[in-house]
């Protein structure tokens, strides 16, 4: 586990990965096991319709069918809770990746080896992508199995599409955090910058459909490319996925470019 920066980074994260893995499995099982209750209790649909449109938009993505398996999972899990958790993990990972090592002071020793700086950034990024994909795969598996147990009849490839989109969103913001960390070498700064970006992006995507003047700007939010096309019902939207991948590439390039020539802190 110590033969490359990639593996060492995963090794350092092994407890965190275990913790998050357990969290995601529990979350999946919990949410899915509540579904039979919701399905049989049709009053909930009536109740939800009483809520103000704004509240609905903000927390559930404005979907109007809560009792179907897809509608339920989309609004209760994938609109807010799951991406938020994945983003907490991704941003924490991204900001620690390079800036964390710089603050600890171990970067001097690491980069005094014959290792180009771009390779350090790339290996840390690969570890980020791998970890997020691993957790998302686990979440997908937990949903699939528990969904089968309560006869939800989920389409597994569409479930995979939304999970994959969420992973892409995580990678995008993780790369943003990595870029800020690479540019400035400060973990805290990187976390708050990426966190603020998440906040604005989420609100922009959630509120835009309600506010006329804001609507054209919805396409500026990465969240829109994650869930705007409702992958759980419609399958993966290739264009939207490509936008997130492109954005990630931009952040990664910025990370390498800013880190390339910079003085490292002692």
């Amino acid at each position: 586990m110590l033969s490359s920066i990639f593996l060492k980074t995963l090794r350092d994260r092994r407890r965190s990965l275990l913790f998050w893995g357990i969290c995601f499995v529990l979350l999946a099982v919990m949410v899915v096991s509540l579904y039979p209750l919701i399905e049989s209790y049709s009053a909930i649909q009536d109740y939800m319709e009483l809520l103000p449109e704004e509240v609905m938009a903000l927390f559930t993505g404005g979907i109007d069918d809560f009792t179907s398996p897809e509608g339920y999972l989309h609004s209760e899990l994938f609109f807010l809770v799951f991406p938020l958790l994945i983003l907490v993990f991704a941003i924490n990972f991204g900001s620690s990746a390079v800036a964390g090592e710089e603050e600890q002071g171990t970067l001097d020793l690491l980069l005094s080896n014959p290792i180009p700086r771009w390779r350090l950034v790339l290996e840390k990024f690969t570890a980020l992508v791998f970890s997020i994909m691993l957790l998302t795969l686990l979440f997908w598996g937990a949903l699939a199995i528990s969904g089968h147990a309560v006869d939800m009849g989920l389409n597994l490839s569409r479930l995979g599409a939304i999970c994959f989109s969420a992973a892409l969103l995580g990678v995008t913001f993780g790369a943003a955090a990595l870029a800020v960390g690479c540019a400035r070498g400060r973990r805290g700064l990187s976390m708050s910058a990426a966190g603020a970006l998440v906040g604005y992006s989420y609100l922009l995507n959630a509120m835009a459909p309600l506010i006329d003047w804001l609507e054209p700007f919805q396409v500026l939010s990465p969240f829109y490319y994650y869930i705007g096309a409702v992958p759980l019902i419609n399958g993966l939207n290739g264009t939207h996925a490509a936008v997130l991948a492109g954005l990630t590439a931009v952040f990664l390039a910025a990370a390498i470019a800013t880190f390339w020539k910079r003085d490292l802190a002692v």
Binding site: L2, S3, S4, I5, K8, D108, D263
Partner: protein, 302 residues
């Protein structure tokens, strides 16, 4: 610059914003020598060293190592260079062995038998988690990782800090062996005796600027020491005032204090006329060496 030049810098300058790190450092380090980089804390030693490793970029000036530009060929330079950081930080969650294996992989493979040989010489237990190690033991791991790839050049920033005297001796032996193998050592220090002990040549740096580069023998010749000689009975001041190289002679009852430049021979012989109880030598501080250096510069100028 010729083939025997390992490190070459010319006008190497680094400013952190407006704050100076180093100014116009020009020096050459030759193959197979132990080169000391002497200066008080904050003089800019670490700045020079981190620039050579391409961890920070110079504001202006050039530097080559093995004839290769440190920025454009930094990767190739680091392939042949072992480095001990001044503020050594290790991975607390690993053991010494794990840390060294990791660094070994990153540098393209390491001869583990050599690592173990170094560890036993330095009396360092590699199986302990780094978080439980004392400062001195961490420093040993830092030294092992610098030496373990038998690099052609070692750049060591304050290598003996935190080492107990026995380990310092072992380190000096390590340096001598490295030199005997024709490899080059560049080490920084703020302690004059250490530099005298191991180095062939010394660059003295102060407030970011190079004061002088000298053979250690020259430096020793002009080294000043404050001596205190305790005699069995009272002595007279006159007997000592005329000795060359001896200044500031003061006798109080049976105790003589004076400043000596260079060799002690004449003074010791004069003192041996009476019965000597004790000789106490105060090593000069770096500041005193600088003062001496500047005074002489001025007297030459006059």
């Amino acid at each position: 610059m010729n083939n025997d030049t390992v490190i070459h810098t010319s006008g190497l300058t680094k400013y952190y914003g407006k704050q100076r790190g180093m100014v116009d450092i020009s020096l050459d380090v030759r193959r197979g020598e132990v080169f000391g980089y002497l200066g008080p804390n904050g003089a800019g030693k670490t700045t020079t060293i981190r620039t050579l490793l391409n961890l920070i970029r110079p504001t202006r000036g050039i530097a080559t190592i093995f004839g290769m530009d440190i920025q454009r060929k930094g990767l190739e330079v680091r392939r042949h260079t072992g480095y001990l950081p001044g503020e050594l930080k290790l991975y607390d969650n690993l053991t010494g062995a794990e840390m060294l294996r990791y660094l070994g992989h990153l540098s393209g493979g390491v001869d583990w038998a050599h690592v173990e040989a170094l560890a036993s010489r330095l009396d360092c237990d590699l199986l302990l988690p780094i978080r439980s190690l004392s400062h001195g033991n961490r420093q040993k791991i830092g030294l092992i990782q610098a030496f373990m790839n038998t690099p052609d050049l070692l750049i060591l920033d304050e290598p003996t800090i935190g080492l107990d005297p026995l380990m310092q001796q072992e380190f000096y032996r390590l340096v001598s062996e490295t030199k005997a193998q024709g490899r080059t050592v560049f080490l920084s220090s703020h302690i004059m005796p250490e530099v005298e002990r191991v180095c062939d040549r010394v660059a003295i740096i102060r407030e970011g600027r190079l004061v002088t580069v000298e053979d250690i023998d020259n430096l020793k010749a002009r080294a000043i020491r404050r001596l205190e000689i305790h005699f069995a009975g009272p002595v007279s001041q006159e007997e000592f005032t005329e000795i060359s190289g001896v200044k500031d002679v003061r006798v109080h009852d049976s105790v003589l204090t004076c400043t000596v430049v260079g060799e002690l021979d004449a003074l010791v012989k004069a003192a041996s006329q009476a019965r000597v109880v004790n000789i106490i030598s105060h090593e000069p501080s770096l500041e005193e060496i600088f003062l001496d250096y500047y005074n002489e510069e001025e007297s030459v100028a006059e």
